[in-house]
Amino acid sequence: MRNDDLATYETWDMTAPVIPPRSRLFHINPVGLGTPLVECLTSYISRVAQAHSISPGALQHHEVPKSGAPRQNIFSCGIKSRARWRARSRT
């Protein structure tokens, strides 16, 4: 065995490069952005939810961060919430 023609191969660094954090939800542009006819927030949330194949309520419940306001599904229009609204408007 001749050892004179031995070569060593370079080594590769396999550490994954750090990429900027990815968004949790899809990037969808609001309809009519920059015009007076820009789409409303509820419509936008519905479309994002549809792209993710989940219900808008689930999206709001799990993905929209809690704020100080009482937690309420903005897509619900049940009798209960309407009754509450009436009660509130009477006072």
Partner: protein, 388 residues
């Protein structure tokens, strides 16, 4: 004084750190470089979606190749990634071996969605439910469509995720598991699912697997047009340049063994080749185990006794070699195949020996199954047998 290829200070570190170092580094041997260049070229080809098949023997370095290409893609897309946080540069998943004899597509879609970091996978709904909001009910008030049943909703979610995230490539490792199924479903149906996903979402799918992936290639004309084959072979002892490259790879590996002594494996090169069947990935796995044993025994180098103790058994190596050689013979482009194609296209055969080629062109006679009770088409003897 042996010349170390690894950083000197590694020798003062605990065995785990040294083992970690040896596990983590990758050598750029010629076949890996070749496959790497071919795969990157295939992914960046501007011909729209395609299916790329990467196949090679076990332990040749396919997963290393995948990680390398992922890294390359991420680095090359860095500028775009900074501008668009909705983009996922590359996603990869491992096709799970099914528990039963059948491949589970639902499991596949779930894993694919996890690979794409999709939120709320358990709450996916089908579009019918979404559009009508309250699903149809029969006269007893039972729901006709269960919003969380079937695999449809999760498939639609995966399509949508691929469309919105636009990965440069979607890797499916261990893709030979896709071929595992009961006899009921055809192989082509299995691949058509992947194909339609790739075409609907316009995404390059890379199927990485062993030679068991081979039956997937060229199942239909459309798939052939859209698919690219990349063969990642082992080093073949019968080719001298291959054997030299294998020797160089072993030499490079031994110089990176973080031990105080000088491990000389080249005198045992043939033994190394024999048990690793010429796959550099297998050599590295083997040397990792040998290194662990050497450090355990406080040996200052990997010697032949340690090698023998950590080697694969003859049975194991033979099994690997047999599968590999079978796969290689399936892959090889033979003159016979070319003749068959030319005959199909009425071009006349290429080889000088026309007569044997023509004989080879005929496919083996198909076995025609006969129906029960139906007789073979033969002439019967008629008349009365004469008494002699």
């Amino acid at each position: 004084m042996p010349d170390y290829a690894f950083p000197r200070e590694l020798l003062d570190q605990p065995p785990e750190a040294r083992l970690g170092y040896f596990k983590s580094f990758t050598i750029a041997h010629p076949l890996l470089k070749e496959a790497d260049a071919a795969l990157i070229q295939a992914i960046q080809e501007p011909a729209g979606w395609s299916l790329i098949f990467v196949y090679g023997p076990t332990g040749v370095g396919k997963t290393t190749l995948r990680r390398r290409v992922e890294k390359h893609l991420k680095e090359s897309m860095m500028e775009v990634l900074r501008q668009d946080p909705g983009l996922v540069p590359v996603a990869s998943m491992e096709a799970a071996a099914p528990d039963s004899s059948q491949f589970s597509w639902k499991d596949y879609y779930r894993r694919a969605l996890i690979a794409l970091d999709e939120p709320l996978i358990d709450r996916k709904l089908t579009c019918q439910v979404r559009s009508s909001f309250r699903d149809a009910r029969d006269t007893f008030g039972r729901a006709l469509t269960d919003p969380r049943a079937a695999g449809l909703e999760i498939r639609l979610a995966l399509e949508s995720a691929l469309i919105h995230r636009r990965p440069a490539a979607f890797f499916i490792d261990e893709a030979q598991h896709l071929a595992k199924m009961k006899s009921g479903r055809k192989l082509q149906d299995q691949l058509d699912s992947i194909k339609s996903l790739a075409s609907l979402a316009n995404t390059v799918h890379v199927l990485v697997g062993t030679y068991e992936l081979l039956p997937f290639r060229n199942l239909s004309a459309q798939l052939s047009r859209r698919s690219i084959d990349i063969h990642f072979p082992r080093y073949r002892a019968e080719k001298s340049e291959d054997y030299t490259a294998f020797r160089n790879a072993v030499f490079t590996l031994q110089r990176h063994l973080p031990l105080t002594g000088d491990s000389d494996l080249l005198p045992h090169l043939e033994y190394c080749y024999e048990r690793s069947i010429g796959c550099v990935g297998l050599v590295k796995d083997w040397l990792t185990r040998a290194l662990a044993l050497a450090m355990n025994q406080n040996a200052n180098a990997v010697n032949v006794r340690i090698l023998e103790k950590t080697a694969w058994s003859l049975d194991q190596s033979e099994r690997m070699a047999r599968e590999t050689v079978d796969g290689e013979s399936d892959v090889s482009e033979k003159e016979e195949k070319r003749d068959r194609l030319r005959h199909l296209l009425r071009l006349g055969t290429t080889s000088s020996a026309t007569a044997p080629a023509a004989a080879r062109v005929n496919p083996p006679a198909r076995h025609v199954r006969q129906r029960v009770g139906q007789r073979k088409p033969v002439r019967d003897l008629v008349g009365v047998a004469k008494e002699a």
